[in-house]
Structure formats: structure tokens, C-alpha cells
Subunit: 308 residues, 2 copies
């Protein structure tokens, strides 16, 4: 299979690249260096040249170091999350290329009123239309609206990615690095399982549409802390904010989504997502800390060689 | 004064061009032929070359023949109305260029709960955040949010433009051309007065911020019909939809904004906007019908010359 990939260099895109390589698929990375991705004609031209079988969009605007940054760069955030999916869809529909879009479960908050997790049938309840969201979540929800009439598109909802590899974007790393934690209940996505499920959609000819690609179940912050301690990954004393009010006052500029998702549709389609508690424990059992000393040495080396 | 103008070829931009020329100002039109307007760096480069004193943005996505078209082209609509203002603002802030943005009163519906027209202090109530709007109105409201922190920007709200010159975009022409009319109460903007008020903001050094540039007062559709008949401009038998329900079922895909605006802030700033009923009567007294016969002859001429 020949896969065109937008956003290959990001946290999600790197895992897509790794799995695509491992499976022996051909990959064409599309980005600013070879395409004006906001221009349908530019994208069409690159796609006509490359002639991929499918396209995957991991590009988007998430904000660094976190979603608060989106509040200060609203236009770029809305371009990356709401305009870009529409441009890609127009190009892919023109050429008849099936494609998948990395969306987010962050367009929901809490649980369904019946106590269950949110399904693909539920309307987002953490969005501009509910007037309760961050700019980031608002633009991600609009991105799904832009794709509502797409005929050949997967919308793969990711939710708080984690894996066994220490990284500033890995939720299990974040929990260890934050000075204070907010107690909340969430569904999460194991990144390798998420990416494998996305790629499986093409392999298994799964029907196009929206899929909540979260691990079955949900977990609280304090449960994650206990699992980190049990695994012996980190022995620091974890501290929690007294309330969401204290978190908002001291650490955040814009509200966060915390929510429980229902992934039955994905499971029923034959996609593999393992139960969340077991999946987290396995990631921690195989924990690979970021080798900071090596990274610093390499930086020093490169600096000294640049000096000569 | 040297004015950079985006969207010069549109209905609003044409009137800006006419008045800028008449006032003897220098004009640099910026558009797709000389700039990638969605790229801050491209816009910066054009503005550094031209070195205008001020910039005016009349570019936007309105949908043709009406806002229903926006529902079918969501990504381009959001790009034109919510992303573009942010790109322009970033470029203008970088270069210290004061600028003005043509926004719309269509982000409101009805009247204030106290019976008055909406002021610049009121939050839009016909927007994604109210979950009651057209895609067009939603994107225009987001455009204003994108500009909320702009330090040197006028947001000039236009509302249903009209003038004495017959045109498919002129409200007084639309009323005559629609098969059926919807009875509603609205504030309107006389296009020449609107544009003069915008240009006056720079001349009179008016404080930057949001301005409702509508003619004082409001008018109902049937009042407009009566004035058209009284002026002898059109003697057809005007027909009305029985209800907004019939209008939505038979003629519209997405809800329309009908609203009353308060323009006191603009009047207090010394901008000239004449009372709506008198202004409409004057436009009708000086009515200049579109010369369709001349237009058809010209088309025929061009066609025959193209054949040789």
C-alpha cells in the first residue's frame, strides 16, 4: 500500500511513519517543504505526482506546550484544525483517494447523561456550539463538521495519547512531570494501538466514518499515579490540585476536556484496542525513560562541531 | 493617504475603490494575483514593498447567490472569514499599520431583551456559540473573536447593504427580484454612507474597536415594499411567505439573521449615518436601474468579436 502522510514529523506522525515502515508500505510525506497544504490545487498536484492509494492527515494545530497556546494564535489554530481537513477532503474526493483524519475526543466533556461513554452518534458537547470549550476543542469540532458530508473519509478520534516511551507528549510522562495534577476521569488512547487501528481500517476495509479509537474503559488521574508507583517508574511524591477551580486559577487559561468515550463501534469493526488499565500497566512495565544525558551530550557535540 | 485594499473587486470593495479614488487617496489593491493572502510572510512582503499608511479588508466569503452556498463550502468560508482576519492582523501588527475589517451585523438575531438594538458591548447571539446560526454567521463571529485582542484594528459591522444603484447585491434590488419575500425587521447599511464612515475613521482619528455602521433605526420588509411602490421604482405585485417556517421550507437551507442594531457609538464618534427611512427613500428617488439591454448588447459584441 502506498500511503501519503501529512504531519509526518509530529508525535502522532512519527508513530505512523514507524508502523508504515515496519509493515513495508510505501510512504510519501507531504508537508510545507513540498506543498502548500492549504491550497487544493497544490495538494492535487502533489497527489497526482505521487499517486498514493490512501492519505492520512496527522497535521493539526495542538498548541505548545499545551492547548493554552491556541488561545494566543487563534487564526493558525482554526486553519490547521478546521480549514485543512476541508482542503484535504476536496483534493481526495477529486482524485477518489480514501483518507483518514486524526481527530480528537477532546470535543466531549464528562459522560453521557445515561452514565455511558460518548459514542459516535453523540454530538460533541465541548465545542463552540456548547460555548464551554477551549479554542482548540472548538476548532477540532468544527473540523469534524467540515467533514460531515465527506464520502470516503475516516475520522479517527484520539484521546490523550500514551505509550511506553518517555516523551513530553506522552500522558504517562506528563503525569510524572507536572508539578501538580488534576484529578479527573478520562478515556485514553495507547498510541501504538491507535495507529495500528487506523492502518487496519484500510487493510480490513472497515466502513468509512467516525471512530472513537480509545482503549476500552476509563481511568482516573490517581489510578494512573498508583500504577506508576506500583511499576516503580517514578517514586516522587505526587501532588494534586485541591479542585478544578484551583487548577484553572493557577495552571490553566482555558478549560480542559475530561471525558469518557465508548469505543464499541471500533471493537465491533474488528479493530484492536486493549482494556485501558492493562494497557497502561504494560506500557509502564516496558517503560523506556528518555535518555536525557545522551541528548545533552549530543547537543554539546553538535555545538562544538558548529563552532569549528 | 495611501490605502492597501483587500477584496477590491467585490461589491463592497468596488465602492471603497470609487470613494478612495474620488478623495484622491492612493490605492494599492492586494489580492490573489499579487499575494498569497493566507500567508503572513507573503502579506508582509507585499506590504513592505507598498508601504501603505492603512489597510482595509473587504475580502471575505459570503456565498453565491446567498449564504446557503456557505453550507456547501465550509472550509473556504471559515478560511475567508475567520482565518484571513487573523493573518492580516498579524501582518499589520508586525508593521504597525492601522487597519479596518469589514465585519457583519449578521452575528445577531432579533433585538436585545430590553427592546433596544444590539450595541458593540453585546455578545453575538447568532453564532456557533449560540448554536442557532448559519455557517456564514458562525464564521463571521469567529472572525471577530480572532480579532478580539487586536491593538490597532477597526471592526466595521455592515448589515444588508443597499444603495441607489440596481445590483444583484443591493437589498433594494433583491426585494424587487425575489419571487417571495420574508417579513422581518432589520437595520440596514447604506453602502456609500458605510464606506464613507469607514474612511472617516482614519481621517477623524476615531478610536479603534468595533462599530455598528448601520443607518439609525430599523425597517420591515413590507415598509421597504411600500417605499419601492411609492417611489414608482417597481409596480409588480409583491408576494410574501406566510411564515418563516414556509420560507425555511421552500427557499432557504440555513437560518437567516434578522436583527436591529444600535449605531449610537458610531454617531457619537462623529460618523455620518442618516436615518434609515429617509435614506431608503433617497436611494429610491435616485434609483438607477441596471441597464440590462446595454449589458446584453455588450455581451453580444464581445462574443462576436471573440468569434473573429
Amino acid at each position: 500500500m502506498h500511503i501519503a502522510l501529512l504531519g509526518a514529523s509530529g508525535y502522532i506522525g512519527t508513530e505512523f511513519t514507524r508502523q508504515i515502515d515496519k509493515l513495508g508500505h510505501k510512504l510519501t510525506a507531504i508537508g510545507r517543504s513540498n506543498c502548500d497544504v492549504y491550497s487544493v490545487s497544490s495538494l492535487l498536484s502533489v497527489l497526482e505526482d505521487a499517486s498514493p492509494d490512501v492519505l492520512i492527515n496527522c497535521a493539526g494545530y495542538t498548541g505548545k506546550p499545551n492547548v493554552d497556546a491556541c488561545e494566543l494564535d487563534k487564526a493558525n489554530c482554526i486553519a490547521g484544525n478546521a480549514v485543512l481537513p476541508g482542503v484535504i477532503n476536496e483534493a481526495c474526493e477529486t482524485l477518489g483517494i480514501p483518507w483518514g483524519h486524526v481527530s480528537s475526543g477532546c470535543i466531549f466533556t464528562g459522560r453521557r447523561s445515561d452514565g455511558g461513554g460518548f459514542t459516535e452518534e453523540d454530538d460533541p458537547n465541548f465545542s463552540f456550539r456548547n460555548n464551554n470549550c477551549s479554542w482548540y476543542s472548538g476548532t477540532k469540532a468544527l473540523g469534524e463538521e467540515v467533514l460531515a458530508d465527506a464520502s470516503n473519509c475516516y475520522i479517527w478520534r484520539l484521546r490523550i495519547p500514551f505509550s511506553n516511551i518517555d516523551s513530553p507528549r506522552n500522558y504517562l510522562s506528563k503525569v510524572q512531570r507536572y508539578e501538580n495534577l488534576l484529578e479527573a476521569e478520562n478515556s485514553l488512547s495507547n498510541l501504538p494501538e491507535y495507529v495500528a487501528a487506523c492502518l487496519d481500517c484500510f487493510d480490513k476495509n472497515v466502513a468509512v466514518g467516525i471512530y472513537n479509537l480509545t482503549n476500552p474503559g476509563s481511568v482516573t488521574t490517581s489510578e494512573v499515579v498508583e500504577m506508576i508507583k506500583e511499576a516503580g517508574v517514578c517514586d516522587k511524591e505526587f501532588r494534586f490540585f485541591a479542585s478544578e477551580g484551583e487548577f484553572m486559577a493557577k495552571a490553566a487559561k482555558t478549560p480542559r476536556s475530561n471525558c469518557v468515550m465508548d469505543c464499541s463501534k471500533a471493537l465491533n469493526a474488528g479493530l484492536k484496542l486493549s482494556p485501558i488499565h492493562a494497557c497502561i500497566r504494560q506500557a509502564l512495565a516496558n517503560w523506556r525513560p528518555e535518555n536525557r544525558e545522551v541528548r545533552i551530550e549530543q547537543q554539546d557535540l553538535s555545538r562544538s562541531s558548529a563552532g569549528h
